[in-house]
Symmetry: D2
Subunit: 406 residues, 4 copies
């Protein structure tokens, strides 16, 4: 094996934590764009697993184009109803016919698998969405070009070659604002929801830090059947504000102001109430790759990849793999090496080379005061090298659903 082209150098900017203004956003799992991301990725996992089960290798597919067309709803305190169902179209390419080495023909029911995976995902993710009345799930999977097949074999040590010039970028550690934004959504959609069923999954969190003041703006779709009246609504909103404020206290010493559902107008009776817990029920369309990046955040202060990671084939889609891998490398480095204040990993592929041999692996570091690049370079390089050597484990972890993509 040739040596990998790994560069470790100072970043030509300050740490994001030190910038004057920082903006961070996270669209929760129930946001229309995130619904599409989640469906696309879950369909991808199901297809990959089905290919492995049936023919022993992952065949060519990409399902990164789910489109959601919003419905119409009439939410009401105590329980309203969806008027016109949401329409969700799963779009992509997948190999439907395969002849294996023994000459056996396989017809893989990719449309049926995708339909089931999409419905399963929606059922698990959006408990207030009734799949019998509130949504139509449709599928249009075509076949791609035949020469892209056969990509992931029994020989697990085989490293595929890059089929495109592509680019991935990852960062660590998260800034305080990033952590806050991420954890706020995760907390509301996780432990807090478990206790408060009125919390819908369409939780959108915007964080804005100016100097040492952080504004956390949270929009939460409440589920009408769990909210009997306007007083209950106000109480729920106040509950969210308090739990987010408490969470913020745990994560930062900075001043944090929490705003919840700022567009509400109690006088006019205009509040953020939904039947299903998502704004997809009324007027908000969605599609894949329009929301969170692979690390779960939208961070205009940082380099971002335009790549829609969700739904891509995790075996040979170099953009997906490198975005996930660069994020993982950044986190590993920061976990294991002391003295790093901000770190960015960029991986650039070269067509035709094995993907564990990127054209360049670029590591830019802001060190803590008193730490020189030279002090940590060897350690960083070693971790990057090991992670690259293990690139195929990314594929496996994606198929197993262990890595999130949005």
């Amino acid at each position: 094996m040739t040596e990998r082209n790994i560069r470790v150098q100072p970043i030509d900017r300050g740490a994001v934590e030190d910038e004057t203004v920082e903006i961070v956003e996270r669209k929760g799992v129930g946001h229309p764009d995130s619904i599409c991301d989640g469906v696309a990725e879950h369909v991808s996992e199901a297809l990959a697993q089905a290919y492995l089960d049936r023919v022993g290798k992952v065949l060519h597919y990409n399902t990164d184009e789910t489109q959601l067309v919003a419905g119409t709803a009439a939410p009401a305190f105590g329980g309203g109803e969806v008027i016109e169902p949401v329409y969700l179209l799963v779009v992509g390419r997948a190999t439907k016919h395969y002849v294996d080495e023994t000459g056996t023909e396989h017809h893989i029911p990719v449309d049926a698998i995708a339909l089931e995976a999409a419905r399963d995902y929606l059922r698990e993710t959006l408990p207030a969405l009734d799949l019998e009345t509130d949504i139509v799930v449709d599928v249009r999977l075509g076949e791609g070009s035949g020469d892209l097949q056969e990509v992931f074999g029994e020989d697990e040590r085989h490293v595929p070659e890059a089929n495109d010039t592509s680019f991935g970028v990852g960062h660590a550690p998260l800034t305080e604002t990033e952590k806050l934004v991420f954890e706020t959504e995760r907390h509301l959609n996780g432990p807090y929801h478990a206790e408060h069923p009125a919390i819908g999954q369409d939780v959108k969190v915007m964080g804005k830090r100016e100097g040492d003041h952080i504004d956390l703006t949270v929009a939460v779709a409440l589920v009408d059947r769990h909210v009997p009246d306007i007083d209950a609504y106000e109480a729920e909103i106040e509950g969210v504000r308090e739990t987010v404020a408490a969470l913020a206290d745990d994560h930062t010493d900075r001043d944090v102001t929490v705003h919840v559902n700022t567009a509400d107008d109690y006088e006019e009776g205009s509040v953020y109430l939904t039947v299903t817990g998502t704004s997809a029920e009324q007027g908000d369309d969605g599609s894949v790759g329009r929301g969170n990046r692979a690390n779960g955040l939208i961070t205009p202060n940082r380099s971002m990849s335009m790549e829609a990671t969700s739904g891509k084939n995790p075996v040979n889609h170099i953009g997906k793999i490198y975005n996930l891998l660069s994020t993982q490398i950044a986190e590993s480095v920061v976990d294991d090496v002391e003295g790093i204040r901000d770190l960015r990993v960029r991986l650039l592929s070269q067509i035709g080379r094995p993907i564990d041999q990127p054209h360049v692996a670029d590591v830019h570091v802001v060190t803590d005061e008193g730490v020189a690049i030279a002090d940590i370079e060897a350690d960083v390089r070693e971790i990057v090298d090991a992670e690259l050597a293990d690139v195929t484990s990314i594929t496996q972890r994606v198929i197993d659903g262990e890595l999130t993509t949005f």
Copy 2:
């Protein structure tokens, strides 16, 4: 009330039972055309009931245009799978917005109601069809013209006026061949299926009588998961043949030959095996109004209406009402009046007149030998009159799902 225009006269042909050649067909509930009929009618019932529950009257709608696009399947002994799901599009018109007398606005979720009704119907009717993988149900309901609204009020004695020149026709009694065809499908899809889960719902029965010989040709889609191998398949087919032959013995003294799945070729392994119990899974599209008439049969020897009865609004669609009513009248007359060998009832509407006052109610009779029209005319007329007077009960019975339309 004016007197109704009822004519009772001899028919200008012999009884169908006496014709040399008679052809009768029934498409079972799992046939693609019947699936569409059933979905359309079930959606209609659900909409009618929802309107009654919400605004106290049935508003304008017609849902008589469901279209089924066949899927692709790979059936296999012991259990195969659907490859590409069936696509079912529920089409029609329905009032979505209504302001009642008190000025209260109602938004009726007709699309959501239709979606649920269609899925419920499929689940109940086709037990081997997995609604999570095997079918996509889509809905496109528009709004009709506004001036057709408000048609069925609290005042139950109000009889609506005909809004079209239309025509209904009914017959009684069924001929032996008709009975046999009808009962064969009902038996296979009912008691026999209960004992033999391998029997799919796509049972098509064709009866052909020449003189006193009847050929019953039965096509039955078997459900693969209940058929382990070709021997089991043969046994099932033989079982169907025997039960139908026994049924025929009970219904007629004529010679009956039973043919089951005649297109099968055991040598070639080409048999009528399905995953879902319906040919809709592979290559057979369907739509409303293309199969059975309102009495459940296709009878080219008799007058038939082209009207697609299923899915029509039972309050004001005169074609639907008159087809159901004329059939009911014919059956009532034959039940209560002796000496009738064949009877046809035709109802012709006149625009603008109450529907209990048809332009003409035409009763054509073939009497038994020795019976004169004059002997029975008064009794027949009385029954026809009473049934017409009670026309609105047809509407209620349709809404309650008591009358079948295909």
Copy 3:
């Protein structure tokens, strides 16, 4: 060749011309059901021709399931507009991949051919419909079962075998009422439209004869851009009334009353005005096989086949062929043999026999007074025999667009 099983016998009813009440209907080419029939048949012709051009034979297809979902429109004197386009879905099965005798692979672009054929047909048939704004044409053609391929070869004398037990029926001559209904629509949509562009293609004619009085009820969709105001509208309607009355005078000595657009209410300004010349623009859905039978009429007084003739493969779909052939036989017989007042031809297929050898060809005749069956039987039989021998010419004429199916 075995002798054909042709039976000529007296009909067991009187002539339809002599019945007391007769009802006849024709849906013009712009009626939503007829639009679907026409699209389905035109797509069929285009596919058949494409197969012949590319592989020298017609491969398996059936495109008899076009579904039309109505749009929304705002017609206005002088010119209104379509608000929501009509949605037309062409559904069916067609062979997409074929390997010929030389091993050459053919990929037949059946979806593209169907799309173009449908749009061409709409453009020609509905001049006021703007294909850029008023309609969305979509296509979903699947593949049928592989064993049904290769059906129409170079060997033109090869007669295919029936693949189903099916039934066709034809009548001649038309009654006066039937002729009137048919000619009224043809005249309005032909010569009269050429002079009066305000006449839309959605012309529906209902004829009702009671004894010697005929009511012709005509519904004509006027095209708004050619109708500047209500006075012009009234003048157009009066023009239609007069031309139909004159036409009636030419065809019958019976009393004829002509009604045009009877639902109009000038006081309320409620008239039958359209942007596109068809009610499909607002609220009237349509599908194949729901309107006219193969002879262009709906005739409840006569035997009718439920078969949707339009869009079926003309090579091997026995129902289509026998409906067209029986009509043609009936017309030939009546043209060439004197003394026939009413004639019905029924053809019944038998699976596995060549289609020129029907199980039975049933000819029922009402002769003119003074003519006995025996006088004409030989002539009739000869014509029937010759037409059956030439059955494959039906296929060719359908492909060439010479035979109409609705």
Copy 4:
């Protein structure tokens, strides 16, 4: 008017031109993602204009969700064909019903307008795409929430308020690599295409600079009807290589290597040939906002907004306006102020404030050697202030189609 919050400060990084590795990409107008962007934006312009023409103001809409499902094609030297049409679904929200101040009701045919605009755009942009056979254009526009209507009035000086916390970013000047990538696509799709009709619109350009070496990788879909054979293909590719190399010579003194269609394999006959000039015909799906940012480029070395600019309402969608405006500000500053090597403008909105009063307008500058921020700050500030004051002209220029969004 309050003073605007404009900050001018040094950027905390070097100029992108000075970074070691730079990556830039542009997806040409025929790339599936760009097709969606272009359709979405063209539909938006048509809707905005229609609202202005009909009700004198732009009503609420967003059409930023067009989805393209790839077709199947069989390209061939001299001319192949599309097998399965592309499916393009225009998705969004638009106000369909509006009552103006005088009480007049307006029904705006938004679906018909969108359909026509999409088809017009495709016809103009993709000359080799046959709209009668190669693509199905479908539309699903719902209505958004009613309270978002009435946004752009006769009072042209009215500045709307921000309805969201959003963010826009712009840069100037372009680096050499950026210019090269941009101009390469524009040249190939413009003047060069005019002379070489074989050049399809799906031109994708990737630029990678390492130090002073630039690799330009160009993928060009050739149009088969203009390429008679493999030799002609090679000649076209060589022509592209030469013209791009010449273009590069004009723009930079750096070393440039040009790669064209590197995935071609002449031995295997595997080349980038298409029927329609876009990979959408075979296997490449697309959607809005997945490709170029508002300045026409994908620039991972720079801050980017995730916002899908195309198709958004240009009156009140703050993300769209601020992305376009910040780009325009950056360009104006660089045009008028000397001594700037790299400049980034970020605009951050604040809900409820007029959009000409951003929460902060952040200008980060890298000055030329010898130039201090203080030397230019006043000039920069003045230009930013003037551009912000004129923010509503952005809206008008978008409606007029003068600003590109991708």
